[in-house]
């Protein structure tokens, strides 16, 4: 078996894991290919971003339509059930990808259950393609573990080999609980833990550019600092005096406030802020722009309300781009330091 299928919920770090593992295995002298049977794109007609990234990183000859041969969309069923046709496309593409590879890293859609209705969910495809599964767990509480166990067992019943689980984006405070409580519980159930990867901001934090892309709107200043990372989101609706307490507690934040709240925007600029989002289509006072320019903080003006902006931002998660060496190195480092990559490789043999 030379197929490794990476599964996990949205935001569990599948792309980072794919980047880390494939580059690590490549270093080990293996010919590694990347395959994403069901892709997605933010804009209809645009290629899957992970496919673009991996094609470049692994220097793959295959075209993007082969690396990500089908695309999911929230309304895919409206196009009719093209299950058989799509499966055939996927298999054809896989053949091409796998032809010259020692190892194919297969990435799942945003969630493993996507396109389950027509039998193209990740577990079914893993079974079709003969892949072993690496399941990523982004723990929030004990229920997260329940979900993972449920999924592991489902794979087992389906006859798909589960290589093991990796805990990703682990906040430092719960590392001990994972080691002391979760891992033994998984062991007892017969599921291996292949890694506990701590949260690193370079991988978990989105950039201001992503925020801009997601929210749209006008960039009033800070074109050159769109690569700043966003670690927190804060809404400013209180008085300056009470706001400062909150502002100071939060680092590298996006600060959302009305365009007419010059006082708040200026206060935020005196604390650690990655970007200011002004809502309601109200152009700010020039002084806000001047100060933001001095501080090099991007200011974004959107024409809808604060609540809508926050709702949109909830979709945000870290993303790796091909030219972002720092996050790519972090992804590899995470695999090297915190994952049993040797064990993964061995179990594929």
């Amino acid at each position: 078996m030379k197929n490794l299928y990476i599964m996990g919920s949205a935001g569990s770090g599948k792309t980072a894991m794919a980047v880390g593992l494939s580059l690590k295995f490549k270093q080990e002298g293996l010919r590694v290919s990347y395959f994403k049977p069901v892709g997605t794109s933010t804009v209809t007609g645009k290629a899957d971003e992970d496919a673009v990234l991996m094609k470049e990183l692994l220097d793959m000859a295959a075209p993007l339509e082969v690396i990500a041969p089908t695309m999911a969309s929230p309304f895919y069923l409206s196009r009719g059930n093209r299950s058989a046709e799509m499966l055939a496309t996927i298999k054809r593409a896989y053949q091409e990808i796998a032809r010259h590879a020692d190892l194919v890293i297969i990435d799942s859609a945003i969630f493993p259950h996507i396109m389950g209705t027509i039998g193209l969910d990740a577990p079914s495809l893993a079974s079709e393609l003969g892949a072993g599964v690496l399941y990523l767990i982004n723990v929030k509480n004990d229920y997260s573990l329940d979900q993972s166990v449920f999924f592991n067992q489902y794979l087992q019943y389906k006859g798909v080999p589960v290589l093991g689980n990796i805990f990703t984006h682990v906040p430092r405070p719960i590392q001990a609980k994972i080691e002391g409580v979760y891992k033994p519980l998984l062991d007892n159930l017969g599921f291996r833990t292949l890694g506990i990867v701590p949260r690193v901001r370079e991988l978990s934090s989105p950039s201001v550019a992503q925020v801009h892309e997601l929210l749209g709107g006008e960039l009033l200043t800070g074109e050159r600092n769109l690569d700043l990372l966003v670690e927190d989101i804060m809404v400013g609706a209180m008085t300056i005096e009470s706001a400062l307490g909150y502002l100071r507690r939060s680092n590298n934040k996006i600060f959302i406030t009305g365009g007419d709240r010059a006082d708040m925007a200026l206060a935020a600029l005196e604390t650690s802020t990655s970007a200011i989002v002004l809502t309601g289509g109200l152009y700010p006072d020039v002084k806000v722009i001047s100060r933001a320019m001095e501080k090099g903080v991007p200011v974004l003006l959107v024409h809808y309300d604060t609540y809508t902006a926050i709702e949109k931002l909830s979709e945000l998660s870290g993303r790796i781009t091909p030219n972002n060496k720092e996050s790519i190195n972090k992804a590899v480092e995470n695999v090297e330091r915190y994952c049993d990559w040797q064990g993964i490789l061995n179990s594929l043999k």
């Binding site: 929030k140 307490g245 100071r248 507690r249 650690s272 001047s290």
Partner: protein, 731 residues
Amino acid sequence: MEKTTSYLHNQPVLFGKKFMWDLCVGKVKAMADLTPLFNVKSVAIIGASNKPGKIGNVIVKNIIESGFAGKIFPINPKETEIEGLPCYSSVSQAPDKIDLAVVCVPAKFCPDVMEECGKTGIKYAVVITAGFKEVGPEGLELEKKLLFICKKYGIRMVGPNCVGIMDTHIPINTSFAAGFPVQGDIAFISQSGAMLVSIMDWAKSIGLGFSRVISLGNKADLNEADFIDAMADDPFTKVILCYIEDVHNGKYFLEAASRAARKKPVIVLKSGTSQAGALAASSHTGALAGSDLAYETAFTQAGILRARSMTELFDLATCFSYQPLPKGDRVAIVTNAGGPGIVASDAIEEARLTMARFDKETLDALRANLPAEANIYNPVDVIGDARADRYAFALEAVLKDPHVDSVVVLVCPTAVTDPENIAQRIIELHRKYPEKPLLTAYMGGMTLAKGVKILTRAKIPVFTFPEPAIRSIAGMVNYVRRMESRVEGEEIRYDDINPDKVKAIFYDVIRDRRSVLLGSEAAAVAEAYGISAAPVKLAISPEEAVALAESIGYPVVLKVASPKIMHKTDVGGVKIGLNNAEDVRNGFIEILENVQRYLPNVVPYGIEVSKMMPKGTELIVGMTRDMQFGPLIAFGLGGIYVNLLKDVSFRLAKGITHAEIAAMIAETKASTLLRGYRGEQPADMMSLIDMVARAAKLILDFEEISEMDINPVFAYPDGYSALDIKITIEL
């Protein structure tokens, strides 16, 4: 690389970029020597014009009309003569040395003009031109450029975007305001040009005189601190008035104002106190106004009198300028009607002044000479039919009284009142007793107008109603009180503190990319500075919590540890009075469940186990770092009612002394509790003062601490215990 000393010698040298920037934002600064600015002998008007109505023309005319005895050089390459004076194409063409350049060319030409001024050796400039920082980013760039040139050549600049300066003692009027004030002893420094021109016009109508009038404009170089400092030593200035929307540099402002307030009254109207006002100020000047609380505290500590309105600002100015300082707070009222006397008495009580109680001699004299219906006690009512003689008798009697520090005369226009004669007698008596402030309220309009004029001309403050008169006395008394109660003491010092320990803890926190310390870390920081904190340990599992509880000893308190949670009680993150292992184990899990319910995305660092301390008087000691004035310390009644009762007093940490801390504690109602309320044992005051001093030392030593809250502190008859400490640092 950064040759700061060269700058101080005004030599044009190259600076490091960082230093230049620090200079521009006011981080590096020496108080300006403005003596030459107030002694100019020659002035150039760059942008002078022949066209009536143009600013370049108004200024030339104003300088001529002000009676300036020095040389005037209009500069304009297109003209040969302006207002009868020979005009020059540039400052370098002027036949003589120029002391001051007044610049009114369009903004884009200002840098070149300033460069030329620099090369010619001009050391002072007033830039009238607008179109700089106030108009946006391009303007800001231009202003920085201008400032850079000033620093390069050692030019001290007023403005840009200002009205100019007026000086009645040189005399010179470099402003474009209409008219020139009469000579007087009030210096007026204003951030608003419009306010300044209005005031000048009004002051002229009532004959109020000024020594120097300065429009600050954008304060790119010279700011309020420089001028307050200069006016402190100005022999022609008796009172310093300031209208400001923000302070350019809190530290220098405090230094200058404290020094000046020791010599003469400094009265400040700081606008932007309301939230709407602050908003207007912030969009007006682009400055992030420091919080009003910080301003209030800073003003009090510097000995500045804060006026609450324009009226109060000038009422105070008039009284300080015209009248002597009162020796105490005892006020006597002389009136010809009962009602106004009562209103004045109420105002005296409200202003925390004292109604004077007359000497027996005074009472006897009043009784012997006033009609039987008159009231001889304070307020002295000479009744409605009183004419000038009776007023004069009563007034002299109270002025003579050693138990009277100041007098307010109230006059109501009855049919027999002769306001002009009364005014004359008041003036005579003020000359006879010049050491006591004498204020009047001429309560009326038409019939009293002449009397008002007579008094104003003789520099006796006249008000229409009693309350502003009393408020003005209160302002004067406050100034005197502050000067008397000024506690000079040693700055706090401790040898038993461990800054390295604190550094190490902060290092770990920063490495963890956190701004907020966990309770256990904060307690360790406090202990390193000798603050006695209740022992706190972090547990990451229920078993560990039980083990820690056993070692600390029951009863214990459990608190959620998370930098994301500001109010732990609100999210069910605190359990108190746990007495056994079972309770601790359950408490641990319950807290995690509660927190998850309220804040599903927050992952706690664990649960902190601390010793349950015996109940004492609950206090709070807090600190917030104001953007202008640095750390501000708060002391007050603590616990959950702190936000409700707001029994808190504040001080700036910088330069605080043990005596000042004692005074700060004494200001609160909590101090009554601490002294032992209703038979309770008094708290250990010395240890509390020591704790506040150590907290102050800590925040002064570590600039990265942006906020600190010790709430509650339990005060005991012997010592105290800091139960919950929150520290926020800047990464």
